[in-house]
């Protein structure tokens, strides 16, 4: 391969990389990359939408899930889904212990819904580890409430029922 052609190839490759990554590079300069949150590992089939859960909660005779909030206790105290229990942040060892202890005696076929809503879905550090823990313990009917932005916007502000207190 002639030298000038090789140089040209390298130059074009560099330019192409810069062009393709220009927008992302700009954004990355402004936003340091946070670590992956783990929500991407939750299968889509295991997600439950807010509307779906709200409808379930209002369906007489329907099997009610055990709803566990696996995020901030302070947020839980402000507002949570009625009947939900605080189970500790899934991203911290104390939270994992609390969650493990809460479900340890339950039958592995128990219907469980996990939620957090502390941050935008792909930034939530809690639901991914909590889901993996329950799956690892053998629970087969675990759903995760999909809150795209946060619990306020995707549940409370939609007029769905909330309770307060620890």
């Amino acid at each position: 391969m002639p030298v000038d052609l090789r140089k040209r190839a390298v130059a074009i490759a560099v330019l192409a990389v810069l062009c393709v990554g220009r927008e992302r590079m700009w954004a990355a300069g402004q936003w340091a990359a946070p670590p992956p949150s783990g929500t991407s590992a939750i299968p889509a089939a295991q997600l439950i939408q807010p509307e779906e859960l709200n409808k379930l909660l209002h369906t007489r005779g329907a099997e009610m899930p055990l709803i566990l909030q696996v995020g901030s206790h302070l947020m839980f105290a402000q507002a949570h889904i009625p009947g939900a229990e605080y189970a500790g942040p899934g991203s911290e060892s104390e939270g994992v212990q609390l969650l493990r202890g809460r479900v340890a005696s339950l039958p592995r076929g128990a219907f469980i819904v996990l939620y957090c809503g502390c941050c935008p879905w792909n930034r939530c550090p809690n639901v991914g580890p909590a889901y993996q823990l329950l799956r690892g313990m053998g629970f087969t009917r675990v759903k995760v409430l999909y809150l795209a932005d946060n619990f306020g916007d995707d549940w409370a502000n939609k007029g769905f029922p909330v309770a307060s207190g620890r």
């Binding site: 992302r24 954004a27 901030s72 302070l74 306020g152």
Partner: protein
Amino acid sequence: MQAGGSVAPWPRTGRRAPLCALFVAFIAAPLVPPFAYAGVPHPRRVIACAARVGNPLLNKPAPDFALVDLNGQTLRLAAYRGKVVLLNFWATWCAPCQVEMPVFAAWQRQHGPQGLQVIGISMDDDAAPARRLVERLKLNYPVAVGDERIGVRYGGVLGLPLTFLIDRDGVARARFQGETDMKVIENRLKTLLAQRRAQK
């Protein structure tokens, strides 16, 4: 092509080299840091988030509060009347918050002389991790650990990050929920800094 299905060495001809290089670069670019970070919020999406600032608290006096900051001092919002206050709710488990906070510290240095006061309210359940992060980031503005009362007073802090801009008269003028383009916040901040106090 060689026998047995093996692929010929790339590039096969000199003339195709630039085109092949271009193709490979386009394919490989997303794999090369910093281009590889797929989670970077797209500016258009960010602006859409920032535009959703409608909130019952806006254009009304920001709820006053008195908390004890991490240095043991009383942190009262009303004490900053006359300044433009950037009130930021954050937590150590909130990754986007930790991206914003060093920027807020830089703004405090840059715009402090013009009357900016940044206040941080940690929504962590414990003070210890908040204190560690504040020390690590060397924040130059007061930070207190919040509670559910301040959360409720501010309309429910049910998702982070959450930032309010409060004008020199103590009126909440903007609310930014979630990941927001920092330029949008800074532009609004500069507008407020340029305004004089209406009431004295």
